[in-house]
């Protein structure tokens, strides 16, 4: 997790006491992510266990932490590795919206509007913090705020899109099947047909795979044959050499 690497990154600049690590981490991230000191020490002891930091006890009993060579390598590896995106993040808001849909469009509009007001409030705060970071020329914190701002903006744009979709759905009502049973039947039929299509596609794919394997096997045989031919040619050439050698000798 990133606390581990953040601590390594701070230690990369020089040895620190545990508490200094906590305050430096918080200052670097604008105090938006407070760490509890227990978290810091438990992470440090895992880093020590893994040989990534070295600990020296000082005369007053305080522990001084220092990054090891393995720790430096681990940090470089972290910097060089892209962060893996969760393909489908388990997002409370998305889940809330999906279930609000069941309660009806009014409920969704409520969720969207309340969230919009709240997210715009966060965006306002980030923007204010950014003006301050700009005045302080705190570039690292500034870029982090940019990230938070773009994330909040993405959420706002998504919420606005949800609302626009709802509005459009309201203005162009689709011809509804006469009753729920019929709708269910239609849906089940669609699912069945989809399943049949999928089966067909799978069979098709299997057939293609088989054909491809067959072709590969043929290729392999052909390659074997070529290799045999090459061996045979080599042997002939060797024979010819032998013949020449013998003739030369005699």
């Amino acid at each position: 997790m990133s606390i581990r690497y953040s601590l390594l990154a701070i230690l990369d600049a020089g040895p620190r006491h545990g508490y200094a690590l906590k305050s430096e981490f918080e200052a670097a991230t604008g105090n938006v992510w407070p760490l509890n000191v227990g978290q810091v020490y438990s992470t440090l002891s895992r880093l020590e266990r893994d040989g990534l930091v070295l600990v020296a006890e000082e005369a007053d009993g305080q522990k001084m932490y220092r990054i090891s060579e393995a720790g430096r390598q681990e940090l470089r590896r972290w910097f060089g590795t892209p962060v893996v995106r969760e393909v489908v993040p388990r997002q409370e808001l998305a889940i809330k919206l999906v279930f609000a849909m069941r309660a009806g469009p009014e409920q969704v509009r409520d969720v969207v509007q309340h969230q919009l007001v709240a997210t715009m409030g966060s965006l306002q705060e980030f923007t204010r913090l950014k003006a301050k970071a700009e005045a302080d020329s705190d570039l690292a914190w500034l870029m982090m705020l940019d990230a938070l701002i773009f994330q909040a903006e993405a959420e706002v744009r998504w919420l606005e899109l949800c609302e626009a979709r709802l509005a459009r759905a309201r203005s162009q009502p689709r011809p509804a099947p006469e009753d729920a049973a019929q709708r269910d039947a239609v849906r089940q039929d669609a699912v069945r047909r989809d399943a049949v299509r999928q089966d067909a596609a799978l069979e098709d794919a299997a057939r293609r795979d088989a054909a491809r394997e067959g072709a590969l096997a043929e290729d392999a045989l052909a390659e074997d044959a070529l290799a045999e031919d090459a061996l045979a040619e080599d042997a002939l050439a060797e024979d010819a050499d032998t013949v020449r050698d013998v003739e030369g000798a005699s």
Binding site: I3, V32, P34, L35, Q39, V117, G121, R128
Partner: protein
């Protein structure tokens, strides 16, 4: 006294049965030193609201009061004088005059207001300098980048200490950083005591405001702000 007070304003156009209600019973006030953002989807009435606030159109009901003067009761010449002295507009399409340099564009509103050309030009140059735009002072709009043009347009909107700035998507065509510098200029004017109303669908730019109101189908439905302070951002846990 509020700089701008919009009171139960309605605006409709066309005639029945094809009448369109663009705004319905909208009220809001903006004080000096306050920046207000109006957000809403296309067609929600944002730009109409801005036009009414700036006296470019008259409401079909309700009233608009600018620094104590009700715009609906003024004759044409009084209205245009008050608007020229008190209101600066910034639009998405920068409408600088192509034949005039940046400094001439900025000094023009002052000259129209009776300031002598020499003093108007001196004021324009001083303003451009304070906005770090002195390098473009003698250039024609065609010789400036889009961002520079828009910043000059903001300078023209604020010159002469006007009390209200109305901006309609002022950052629409600009890249993120340039857009930010334009927003920074508007924010700075508001911190200096000017009232600023910004119409935008861009959440990042609306977030510069002290207060954000939301328009849907011509009605004000909600608002955000004033800001609750950075504590509001603290996450409960982070591992």
């Amino acid at each position: 006294m509020s700089v701008l007070s919009v009171e139960r304003v309605g605006y409709r156009y066309g005639s029945p049965p094809r009448q369109v209600v663009a705004l319905h019973d909208v009220s809001l006030t903006v004080e000096g030193g306050q920046m207000l953002a109006v957000m809403g989807p296309s067609g929600s009435g944002k730009s109409t609201l801005l036009r009414l606030a700036g006296g470019l159109a008259r409401p079909t009901s309700g009233r608009v009061v600018l620094s104590g003067s009700e715009l609906g009761t003024l004759g044409e010449s009084d209205l245009s004088r008050i608007l020229r002295r008190q209101v600066g507009f910034v639009f998405q399409d920068v409408n600088l005059l192509a034949a005039l340099t940046a400094a001439e564009n900025v000094s023009l509103p002052l000259e129209l207001d009776g300031v002598r050309p020499r003093s108007a030009m001196a004021a324009a140059r001083a303003l451009l300098r304070s906005l770090n735009l002195d390098e473009v002072a003698n250039r024609l709009p065609a010789q400036m980048s889009g961002g520079q043009q828009q910043r000059v347009a903001v300078a023209r909107a604020v010159v002469g200490g006007r009390s209200l700035i109305l901006a309609d998507e002022p950052t629409g065509a600009l890249d993120s950083l340039t857009g930010e510098s334009v927003m920074g200029m508007l924010r700075a004017r508001s911190d200096d005591g000017c009232a600023v109303v910004l119409v935008t669908h861009d959440a990042r730019h609306a977030a510069w405001a002290d207060r954000i109101v939301y328009l849907r189908d011509g009605r004000l439905i909600d608002e955000t702000g004033p800001p609750a302070g950075p504590e509001s951002l603290l996450s409960e846990e982070w591992v």
